[in-house]
Amino acid sequence: MKAKGWRDLPPGSVVLEGGSAVKFKTGSWRAFRPIWIEENCIQCLFCWIYCPDMAVEVKDGKRTEFDYDYCKGCGICALECPGRKGQKAIVMAEEGK
């Protein structure tokens, strides 16, 4: 994303639309990447409610993939994931490996 100069910004740098932070992708902050293992997932949605970055996509009440554009890789989801029969449905892996 190209930074804007002062001529391109609205006067007073006023923000003109709500929820515009979605244009700012925070996924590049990530050092560890959460990986979803579907067969171990019980669809409890704890990962969704506890995600500080709203980076778990849920469609019709079922979780789907992570939104890696915004996930900062904190790992709360992996820690809170109850999994199935002791097998976690979310594991963390180092980025770039």
């Binding site: 939104d67 709360i76 820690l79």
Partner: protein, 312 residues
Amino acid sequence: MATPLTLKELSKKEDRFTHGHRMCSGCGAPIVVKIAMMATEYPVVVSNATGCLEVSSCISEFTAWNVPWIHTAFENAAATLSGVETMYRSLKKQGRFDKDKEVKFIAFGGDGGTYDIGFQSLSGAMERGHDMIYICYDNGAYMNTGIQRSSATPLGADTTTCPAGSVIPGKLRARKNLTKIMAAHDIPYVAQASPSHWLDLAKKIQKAHEIKGPKFINVIAPCNRGWRSKTNDAIQLSRLAVNTCYWPLYEIENGVTRITVTPKEKISVAEFMKPQGRFKHLFSPENEGLLQRVQDEVDREWAKLQKEAKTD
């Protein structure tokens, strides 16, 4: 009007607090905010005291808020919002705003902006009886400016302005009990909540919206930078805070105290403190007494709360 509080139903709603905000990885505050914002269907106006949440959710050009939102200075989130609430009432009286449309008002502040700097404006707004909820996300220090002590910093914690070392063993004073201070304002609803118990938190927000008058909710919000813990333990630490009774979950409705979550087994407060680097020095032999003092204080507060509470 009330949203059914199941994760499946809640997940179908549009985010009122969106991704792309720039809070640190693993921060507890956005979890508190997202749960608070999704717990109601009402149109909401938010005012936000200066603090981590404010500076990182609205960085030039971008805002993570999908609702009308006002950035205020450190000290006047409650005063600003009480003005907004009054304006809506006046516009309704003048016939310039739909009389039957219910608009709700929420102020967010960190512990610095609530316990310390914003305290007089909060106290004033509560005394004047404005119809609003004030939510404090309490991370126990001025984290945004680099971990300076606040009056919410717990006893014995290491911060940059009360550094633990050979002179002092971290903060020498206990934290002030703001939830009880707000209850002393005799307002209709005061509660304490934790993001780990999301349903309890959402229920409290929902209940507060249905009550007319000033409401105050104090929510613990772990900060892995300031607490010197890992990025993944915000929920685990807030759960430990509840289970050790360091942060009991209760509400005071019209003067009646009710404990909403009683831990199955009350564990030692050391379990909550051990994963946090800010308390590391308390586990060395010379600070044993201080650790015991922390435990005694937690026990005393918990006993007091149980005595006050109505058992159901």
